[in-house]
C-alpha cells in the first residue's frame, strides 16, 4: 500500500501548488489582451498533446545534476532533483498544469466584468476584488481544477518513470508499482492496486459532475 500513499501525497502536494500558482496564471489568461496571451495559452496546453516521454526527457535533462535547475539544486541542497520526490512534484505540476488552468480560466472568463467593476468602485483593490468576488464566484472552476489535477497526477506514468524512476518510498508511485507487479507476473497485486485506482477515479469524477449539476440547477 506504500505506493498508493506516496501517490496520494504526490497528488495532494501537486494539487495545492497548482491551485495556488495556477489561479493567478488562469486569471491573467482570462483577462489579458496581450499578444503573448495565445503563446502562453499554447504552452500551458502542450502537456495534453505531447507524449509524456517528451516532457519526461527534457525534465530529466533540465533537472539532472548537470542541468540548469538540477545543478543549482545540487549546490543548494546537496541532493539531486531527479529520482527524488521534489523532482516528481515539479514534473507533476508541469504535466497536470493544463488540467488545473483550463477549468479556472473558463470560470474566470464567465464572470461579468461589471461585477468586478462594482467591487472596485465600492473600494476593493484589484487583489481584494479578485479574492472576495472573482474567486468565490468561480468556486466551481476551482473544484474542477482540484479534482482533475489530483486525478491526473495520480494517473501519470511516463513522466514519473523517466524523472523519478522506481525508488520505494521516494518515487515508487502506484502506477509504477502496478507496472512492476505486471513485469514480475504478480497479477494479484497489480489487480488490487488497479481496482483501488478505478474506484477512486470514478468516485472523484462522479462527485465532481454531481456537484456541477447541483450548482447549475441553482
Amino acid at each position: 500500500m506504500a505506493p498508493l500513499f506516496l501517490s496520494i501525497k504526490l497528488a495532494s502536494v501537486t494539487t495545492v501548488i497548482l491551485i495556488i500558482l495556477g489561479a493567478p496564471l488562469s486569471w491573467w489568461l482570462s483577462q489579458s489582451r496581450s499578444r503573448w496571451q495565445p503563446v502562453v495559452q499554447a504552452i500551458v496546453a502542450m502537456p495534453i498533446v505531447l507524449p509524456p516521454t517528451v516532457l519526461g526527457f527534457y525534465l530529466l535533462v533540465v533537472l539532472g545534476p548537470h542541468g540548469a535547475i538540477g545543478s543549482w539544486w545540487v549546490q543548494l541542497t546537496g541532493d539531486t532533483l531527479t529520482f527524488s520526490f521534489v523532482g516528481l512534484v515539479i514534473a507533476s505540476c508541469l504535466y497536470s498544469l493544463p488540467f488545473a488552468v483550463q477549468p479556472m480560466q473558463n470560470a474566470f472568463e464567465s464572470l461579468s466584468r461589471k461585477n468586478l467593476e462594482a467591487a472596485w468602485t465600492l473600494g476593493a483593490s484589484k487583489l481584494d476584488a479578485f479574492l472576495s468576488v472573482a474567486v468565490p464566484l468561480s468556486i466551481r472552476g476551482f473544484v474542477s481544477a482540484a479534482v482533475l489535477s489530483f486525478a491526473h497526477t495520480l494517473g501519470e506514468f511516463g513522466v514519473v518513470l523517466m524523472v523519478g524512476g522506481n525508488i520505494p518510498g521516494e518515487t515508487r508511485v502506484v502506477s509504477i508499482a502496478i507496472y512492476d507487479h505486471v513485469e514480475t507476473l504478480n497479477y494479484a497485486a497489480a489487480n488490487r492496486l488497479s481496482v483501488v485506482l478505478i474506484v477512486f477515479a470514478f468516485v472523484a469524477l462522479f462527485g465532481m459532475f454531481l456537484l456541477n449539476r447541483r450548482w447549475q440547477s441553482r
Binding site: S112, K114, N115, E117, A118, A119, W120, T121, L122, G123, A124, S125, K126, D128, A129, S132, V133, P136, L137, I139, R218
Partner: protein, 338 residues
C-alpha cells in the same frame, strides 16, 4: 457654492468624448442625451473605469459610488453582506446599515440571497450598498432602464427620498426625460461626446435652441405649492409665480414639481371663456424659433417661470405672434413629477 469639475476626454474608435465643465456639488445633476451620446462613458471616466487615469487615484480609492443599469450584486453574498461590502472597505465610513436599509426599505430582505430578489428590490439593494460606502459622489447609470414600468415605480419613490435625505451629490444619467424632470435639479445635455448645454433644470429645459431637447422631450417644469384641494371635482390647485394651475387628482405634498409638455400648450389672443381647458393664464412671448418646416417653438414667460409651447408655423404667421406680445396660454395637461 462649491462645484465639481468634470474634465474628461477619451477616444473609442470613431467616438470621442470631450467634456470640460463643472456641476454643483449638491443635489442631482441629470445627464441627458440620446444613446451613443457618451453618457455612460462620461460616468465611467469619472469613476476611473475608463479613460486616462494618469496621476489620478485608482478606482478603489476614489469613493465614488456607482449604481449600474443592472444592479451587479454579488450572488455569493447575502443582501446584508452585499450592503456591507463597500462599508467594510472604507474604514472611516460612518453610516448605519439599518438606517440606510430602512431608507430604501430593504431592511426586511437582509437575510435573503440576492438571487431571490425582484429587479426593483435588487436595484434598491445596490443603491443601499453604494450609500453604505459613504461616497463623496454617486453616479447612477440609467438605474431604472432595465426595469419594467411597474418595477420602475417600485424604485422611483426611493430616489426621491434619497434626493431629500442625502447631501451627497448625485450624477444621474438617463435618456428618459420624465426621469430627468422628476429627479434632477441641474441638467447637463450631451450630444456626440460634447456638452451642448449645462445649467439649472428649468432654465435648460426651456431653451428652445437645443434640438436634443426637442421633439417629444420639449416642455418645461415649474415648482409650485399646493393651494387647495377641491373634493367635489377631485382637483388640486397649485400656485406658482405665474398664477394658479388645476391638476387632476389629489396630491399629498405641499410643494410639487409640475411638468408641462410643449405639445400640451396652445396660444390664444383672447382668454377663451367657453372652453374645456381649465388652465388659461396670461403670458408674454419671450422668443420663437422654427423647429421643423411645420412647427415653431415658443418660449413664454409667466411670472418668473418659463414655459415652452409647440405651435404650427402657419398659426404663428396668421396670428402674427412676435416676442413681447401678451398672450393667453391654454394648458391642456399638467403632470405632477414630484
Amino acid at each position: 457654492m462649491s462645484r465639481i469639475r468634470l474634465k474628461h476626454s477619451i477616444r473609442k474608435g470613431d467616438f470621442c468624448l470631450d467634456v470640460d465643465t463643472d456641476i454643483p456639488a449638491t443635489g442631482i445633476t441629470g445627464v441627458f442625451g440620446e444613446s451613443g451620446s457618451g453618457k455612460t462613458t462620461l460616468l465611467r471616466c469619472i469613476a476611473g473605469l475608463d479613460g486616462s487615469q494618469h496621476g489620478l487615484p485608482p478606482v478603489h480609492e476614489r469613493r465614488i459610488g456607482f449604481v449600474f443599469q443592472v444592479p451587479q450584486l454579488f450572488s455569493h453574498l447575502s443582501v446584508q453582506k452585499n450592503i456591507e461590502y463597500g462599508m467594510r472597505r472604507n474604514s472611516d465610513a460612518v453610516v448605519s446599515v439599518n438606517e440606510i436599509a430602512r431608507l430604501l426599505e430593504v431592511d426586511g430582505l437582509l437575510d435573503r440571497s440576492v438571487t431571490e430578489l425582484s429587479g426593483g428590490e435588487a436595484q434598491r439593494v445596490s443603491i443601499a450598498r453604494v450609500l453604505c460606502q459613504s461616497p463623496r459622489l454617486i453616479l447612477m447609470d440609467e438605474p431604472l432602464s432595465a426595469l419594467d414600468e411597474r418595477r420602475r415605480n417600485e424604485v422611483l419613490p426611493y430616489l426621491d427620498r434619497l434626493h431629500a435625505e442625502t447631501s451627497v451629490p448625485i450624477i444621474y444619467v438617463s435618456h428618459n426625460i420624465d426621469e430627468i424632470c422628476r429627479l434632477s435639479d441641474h441638467l447637463l445635455v450631451l450630444d456626440d461626446g460634447k456638452v451642448v448645454a449645462e445649467g439649472g433644470l428649468q432654465d435648460t429645459l426651456t431653451r428652445i435652441d437645443l434640438p436634443q431637447l426637442g421633439g417629444r422631450n420639449s416642455g418645461a417644469v415649474i415648482e409650485a405649492t399646493q393651494a387647495r384641494y377641491d373634493e367635489d371635482y377631485d382637483l388640486t390647485l397649485f400656485s406658482f409665480s405665474g398664477g394658479e394651475l388645476w391638476v387632476a387628482g389629489r396630491h399629498e405634498s405641499t410643494s410639487a414639481r409640475l411638468r408641462i409638455s410643449a405639445s400640451d400648450i396652445s396660444l390664444s389672443r383672447v382668454a377663451a371663456e367657453s372652453t374645456t381647458i381649465l388652465n388659461i393664464l396670461p403670458a408674454i412671448i419671450e422668443s420663437t424659433l422654427p423647429e421643423t418646416a411645420a412647427t415653431e417653438l415658443v418660449q413664454l414667460r409667466l411670472g418668473d417661470d418659463i414655459l415652452v409651447a409647440r405651435i404650427t408655423r402657419r398659426s404663428l404667421q396668421q396670428m402674427k405672434l412676435c416676442a413681447g406680445d401678451e398672450i393667453f396660454v391654454q394648458i391642456k395637461s399638467v403632470t405632477v413629477r414630484r
